[in-house]
């Protein structure tokens, strides 16, 4: 089981990665984020307080439940317009 994880903008640059399949079972987006932050080093960027996230292309909160096969995205605050 895995979830597809996407990184955008400053996070993508800091991590040097735009997407990956993450194996494992994560009940929520928060649990997935905690797993990623524990990788240490550059992954600390995902611990930023103002991080935004989306599940299956819709903005969500960190307590959003996850299911296998979901697409999750992490990104800094949006700055369009």
């Amino acid at each position: 089981m895995s979830v597809q994880v996407l990184y955008f903008a400053r996070f993508r640059e800091t991590l040097g990665l735009d997407s990956e399949a993450v194996e494992g079972v994560y009940p929520t987006v928060r649990a997935l984020r905690e797993f990623l932050v524990l990788r240490g080093g550059v992954w600390q960027v995902l611990a930023e307080r103002n991080l935004m996230c989306a599940r299956n292309e819709e903005l969500c909160q960190l307590d959003e439940p996850l299911a296998p096969g979901d697409e999750v995205a992490f990104f800094p605050p949006v700055t369009g317009g």
């Binding site: 996407l6 955008f8 903008a9 400053r10 103002n50 989306a54 292309e57 819709e58 903005l59 995205a73 990104f75 800094p76 605050p77 949006v78 700055t79 369009g80 317009g81």
Partner: protein
């Protein structure tokens, strides 16, 4: 309702004209155009790159326009946002609203921009005199969007 996300430049005047063409029931058109400035946060800006989240971008904009249509009696609503490389002076975003009376058009246009600023997945990276830098989100944008929250 139309949503376009494109790399190509556009003509804001032409977009405004389309909003009342072929509909004499339109009594009011309000539009907003956002431009790339040549100066921001104390640095000269030579250019900008707009990154986005393909797929989610279109969905997020569609959701915002549907919400605007639920709140106000609108006849037309157009959202156009550029992505990719832009230069100072170029338009980045266009929001145009047509309605029978002005207040709905004024409010809906402001609403769409406020929500776009805080909910649509776009990120600006500026090329400045000190090198490239990501534009940071502003708390004032969230305050502006918050005024549309329903109690």
């Amino acid at each position: 309702m139309a949503i376009r996300v494109q790399t190509a430049a556009f003509d804001p005047g032409a977009e405004v004209n389309v909003l009342h063409a072929a509909n004499v029931g339109v009594g009011a058109v309000v539009s907003f155009v956002g431009y790339v400035r040549d100066f921001n946060e104390g640095r000269e800006v030579a250019g900008m790159f707009l990154e986005h989240y393909p797929g989610m971008t279109e969905k997020a904009l569609a959701k915002i326009t549907v919400e605007a249509e639920l709140r106000w009696p609108l006849l037309k609503l157009e959202v156009l946002h550029r992505i990719g490389a832009l230069e100072p002076g170029e338009p980045i975003v266009f929001v145009g609203v047509a309605s029978a009376h002005r207040q709905a058009a004024f409010d809906a246009c402001a609403f769409v921009m406020d929500y776009l600023k805080t909910r649509a997945p776009f990120w600006k990276k500026e090329t400045t005199s000190d090198g490239p830098r990501w534009v940071e989100g502003r708390d004032s944008d969230h305050a502006a969007a918050g005024r549309w929250d329903k109690n």
